[in-house]
Symmetry: D3
Subunit: 288 residues, 6 copies
Amino acid sequence: MVNLTGQLKSEILVEALPYIRQFQGKRFVIKYGGSAMINDELKMNFVKQISLLKYVGIKPVIIHGGGIKITEMEEKLGKKAQFVKGLRVTDKETMDLVKMVLIGLINKEIVALFRSIDEDAVGISGKDGNLLYAEKIKMDDVDMGYIGEVKQVNSRLIEALEEKDFIPVIAPVAIGPDYEAYNINADLAAAGLAAGLHAEKLILLTDAPGVLKNKEDDTSIIPTINANQINELIRTGTADKGMIPKLTASVNALKQGVKKVHILDGRVENSIILEAFTDEGIGTEIVL
Amino acid sequence: MVNLTGQLKSEILVEALPYIRQFQGKRFVIKYGGSAMINDELKMNFVKQISLLKYVGIKPVIIHGGGIKITEMEEKLGKKAQFVKGLRVTDKETMDLVKMVLIGLINKEIVALFRSIDEDAVGISGKDGNLLYAEKIKMDDVDMGYIGEVKQVNSRLIEALEEKDFIPVIAPVAIGPDYEAYNINADLAAAGLAAGLHAEKLILLTDAPGVLKNKEDDTSIIPTINANQINELIRTGTADKGMIPKLTASVNALKQGVKKVHILDGRVENSIILEAFTDEGIGTEIVL
Amino acid sequence: MVNLTGQLKSEILVEALPYIRQFQGKRFVIKYGGSAMINDELKMNFVKQISLLKYVGIKPVIIHGGGIKITEMEEKLGKKAQFVKGLRVTDKETMDLVKMVLIGLINKEIVALFRSIDEDAVGISGKDGNLLYAEKIKMDDVDMGYIGEVKQVNSRLIEALEEKDFIPVIAPVAIGPDYEAYNINADLAAAGLAAGLHAEKLILLTDAPGVLKNKEDDTSIIPTINANQINELIRTGTADKGMIPKLTASVNALKQGVKKVHILDGRVENSIILEAFTDEGIGTEIVL
Amino acid sequence: MVNLTGQLKSEILVEALPYIRQFQGKRFVIKYGGSAMINDELKMNFVKQISLLKYVGIKPVIIHGGGIKITEMEEKLGKKAQFVKGLRVTDKETMDLVKMVLIGLINKEIVALFRSIDEDAVGISGKDGNLLYAEKIKMDDVDMGYIGEVKQVNSRLIEALEEKDFIPVIAPVAIGPDYEAYNINADLAAAGLAAGLHAEKLILLTDAPGVLKNKEDDTSIIPTINANQINELIRTGTADKGMIPKLTASVNALKQGVKKVHILDGRVENSIILEAFTDEGIGTEIVL
Amino acid sequence: MVNLTGQLKSEILVEALPYIRQFQGKRFVIKYGGSAMINDELKMNFVKQISLLKYVGIKPVIIHGGGIKITEMEEKLGKKAQFVKGLRVTDKETMDLVKMVLIGLINKEIVALFRSIDEDAVGISGKDGNLLYAEKIKMDDVDMGYIGEVKQVNSRLIEALEEKDFIPVIAPVAIGPDYEAYNINADLAAAGLAAGLHAEKLILLTDAPGVLKNKEDDTSIIPTINANQINELIRTGTADKGMIPKLTASVNALKQGVKKVHILDGRVENSIILEAFTDEGIGTEIVL
Amino acid sequence: MVNLTGQLKSEILVEALPYIRQFQGKRFVIKYGGSAMINDELKMNFVKQISLLKYVGIKPVIIHGGGIKITEMEEKLGKKAQFVKGLRVTDKETMDLVKMVLIGLINKEIVALFRSIDEDAVGISGKDGNLLYAEKIKMDDVDMGYIGEVKQVNSRLIEALEEKDFIPVIAPVAIGPDYEAYNINADLAAAGLAAGLHAEKLILLTDAPGVLKNKEDDTSIIPTINANQINELIRTGTADKGMIPKLTASVNALKQGVKKVHILDGRVENSIILEAFTDEGIGTEIVL
């Protein structure tokens, strides 16, 4: 008789058919960061998931963070990272550090990871091909330096890469009106990119199981949340500080036409595939 | 925590990646028949498997049999089916029956089945677009009538259909030098077609678990068998009579460049997907 | 001196120029049936005419009937054909007979006929590629069974075949909402198809010289007739019973944008070419 | 009953099918001159024939002569035309006359004639698009002036015109190594062009019924003649002086790969169509 | 050290960059005539300028005059040229002369000139490819004969030539409603063509330094002039008689969408390049 | 009269025509570094030159160095740069520095510079799209660390970018067999890239006037040098140490099919344009 596991495996593959059909030809913007970018097994698992997306006809676009490494490097150089409302104060010297770490190190490591499974990725920043145009974020009391927000997305380079089957891997550094580089919060960059690229899905990988009702209780995941409920969460202080920019960025992306946003646990293997191709719930789905 | 079943499912999907990559853009010729064409659940499962193949970038070409229904119809009309060496003696009237049953009934039922899962198939015979050209099989003592063997395959129509994402479903009736229809044994037609279309795989669905060492013991499956071993099986009478044409056709297809031939149990759900996308063994793989 | 006949021939060819120019790139839907489908010389002549249309740049689409053979087959099986308002009452068993005869026998014979003059045709039914979607015709007193009328035409398959120079030959069997096959009156199917394919011309081959003023007098052909005159003919009972569905179908096709409808005598050689490429009158032209 | 003439016409059209199939997509180079370029009815008939060739998928390329008009113009200007071995001695002033008459007058008249039947032709010379490169013909005793022979054909312009459905009409003036214009005998130019364009047929329209056995007897047409027989005709003086360059040019074209050469009577209506699309004989066919 | 001249040269090339960018992919219609068509150095310089335009991605379309040569030829033939309001009275015989000189001689000389620098031009008239359709100009008192004005431009032939990198060179002879040739004033033809081809620039080469304030003073060039100022110039008789048709044609072209019109001194080398690619002023620019 | 400077400018532009023609559609690999990457005016001048190359139809590919900045950064971090035979000993930590400085800083600054003149460049490394595959350079006595030499060039990404008019800007970091980054000497990377991309020209910008006969005398430029002469220069110690890798890399590139190599003075404005588009001599041309 046929091996049961084999039977089960093939059954699961066939069950994925309606999802594959639904998403074929669509674009997914995926924010990559946290443990999924540190743990060796999770890293390997991430590139395999992305490769699978590509092989079943979906167009994945990766945008990554890297805040922890930047802070480490600052410390090494005797500087102290400074944050206002979760955004890094970025003077000229810090901006150079950001570029060096995000573009010079992290971005290329991701590309090499793809290469190790025989997949051709191309690492770019928002400056390349005029992909992300940003303007400085202005705050009342403090000069945030080279911190910007995405004002325009130019999809030409992404399309050129997709057309030839390259996976775009993007460092969240944009170009400003003065042709200077601007540091963009990776979640916000992902949301802006998803909107500008008319993505079907925006997926934010985090080091949390999803949006929680109770910060102390990892099992209190909210499976679906809408814009009003998000406002309430923020108002009541229930939302984790790190979660707030993700939530507001998500709502913005949805308002600009992205079909769905998901906050997934990047510490869990295969979470993207699970979300996209099975009817099991994982993480939090955000709706308008 | 994440649902374990979901985890498992996504893991299995990711594990399929190397197989999907390997077969993308390649053609599979699949001989469809037996229980998989009768049992309602197996029928549904068959079209879903084929649709999945198409959605992950493989080009499936279906060729079906239908002998049982022809025999039934013959009996209805008061005729008695007559076989020589496993081939149906096919006089003019029987040939009409063959065409009516294979092309008029069975072929279109398969097409409708695909439609029911929103998949566009196109049912054709070997006469259409000059797809299969056959010549009469000559035997010493008996006039077999309109029984032919494939002499030429013209891939133009198959390519036209594939290009526009239609799944070709073929009834094994060929056109002869006299522009008459010729009845072709479905296994032989599948092998000829696989060779002529430069298929990556030829898959023969049967109502047996594979090639058996011992006809009486369904667990005595031979996982891999080569041409010499096949000759030995035939010589010693170990091979089932119905299996012999499948085996010789398989060897012929391999000799003409088909990469692999598989004899799979059509009574088992998802057997094609299991064979193609997992490392579990199923049925018998035939090699040169 | 040059042979006179040769002179005459070439003169006639040159005279066809304006017609060829006018129709190049346009689609003709031709309903094939009656004597033209039985008599050997007329059959040969038919495929040559169609091939000529194709070679001068017109796109012919053939749809055929086959009622007589179905009735014959019913009798053979001891069933009695039953008609209501000219439509065959089609229970499940009869529907199988219809498919077997139309798709299994007649359709493939036409394809073989084209092959015999080295022309590649492809025989399909309305079920293939989701070409013809129909819904059941409901009558007040009687359950007509699987008799349908065309509700939607999907031109994708026809275009795929034309693009690669295959001539489509269609059996008038459609697919219904339940994925069952529906029998469509061939004249109505031709009209629906012509409308759905935005045909330039709909040509109905019949076994009559055209629409007659006087059923008893074959010379009383009406060269041109409009919708009002058709209503009058039907009202006064002047129209032949077999002619009525052709006439109403024609008017419907014209209302949906088909440029011209012609009822031609299929018993006369070259009638299609004569109508299309000369200024001689033949049969009846129907206008709004 | 159907009008007999209509019947006959359509029969003739259908009979042309095998010829249309045979020549579709092939190129015909046609040398236009003599009465067919003077008589109003023949002119009209010529452009219709060419248009018909185009509409049935053949690529006609026209090259014309014009010697008579040049001689007339020379006389008007008080010059006396001088010929050596059938070639016009062409000093600088004569060359200007040749260009003015061939390109300025005759070429554009042909283009306008096509326009009058709604056909877009483009009149060019061998200088345009570097179509015909020639070198001076050298004779022992006499300086022939700007008389050249074709050394190279550049098909790029012809292909550009054909691709957009323009009919090329060429004046036999080539460009030399000194960028000067060279007068080319139209028959020789046609043969060179046919060879350089890999034409299927070269057709030379003349004011004779074909090659004659007896110059005095217009009925003594030789239906087929080969290279050896041509040499014999020339040796024995049987060949008309005007016919000799046509014959040698024809043999050259055949040797360079043109499939067939025909010498047709341009005074007879429809002679090109008659030759190409009927099995009637006309004029002389030249073979290797 | 680097050669100073080389330095300067490369600096000038780099300075041309913004102009090249601005005009890449755009069409320039250039009226060629006067000294630039007579003087050997200017001729050579003209084709080099045009070739440069093509090589930096601009689409040049040349239309030429030739009045002087026509008058010379008329005199040679004992005819006297007659002008009304600057337009040549053109009877049938004169029209033949116009065609012979413009199309047969001048047009082909320009093509040969391009060939001498290895550039493939194609010489056509407005009759070819139905490029220029004209109607007769009617005057109250005098029958002007075959003098027409452009009523329609058909860009298909120009686009076919541009697509294959041929430079179109056009003789200003159009085709009329009677399929006769019509003589078009070259400036008016250029303006009509520029409008019909949606040109970016219309450049009129003249034998004057531009539009002058004072006819007697060659240094009194008006750098920019608008429609109102042109009317004033004409009203006060300040404008040179030869300049008036250029000016009114220019205004018409601008009104029909041509971006800019320039009247340049054809007696000055490189004037087109200077106008297009430097910020130096030359000639007169006409604006609405 | 026309302004003399304008005249001169346009003359120089026209003189560039033969060079533009010669190089249109060809690829130039340009190694960018030294003063041209530091001085603000030279930087601006560099991107303009490259943009001009692109606009006249040449395909520029930029590869840059950055050694000085790396050394600076090493010092900042308290490390001491160590060189063997002109190659930097590159341990893991240094390799990270190399990536940070070359890819994170310098590469993106060049891209921003292009953006400031409205030109879309894309900054990549040899790791992206599997562009440059390298293997470790092994020396007898010393472990050079992550210093590699190019073994394979994969042009797919460069072609994808060129096709959409993006200018590729490449940091000389390759991917090794262990998927690690390898530091490649920029001159050697440029030579390898030029060979692998079948470049027409390899241009090495340096801070020297060319190859010198006498290191002390900047006017002793050798205009053309061949492989044998290079060997002699190296043997006799005449060649500058920094020049040696450039020279040997150049000869290698030539041997692998690059048409020409030029060593140009990057301190001189417009030197690339001067070399490519004028007949003035600059720097040293290397031939086999």
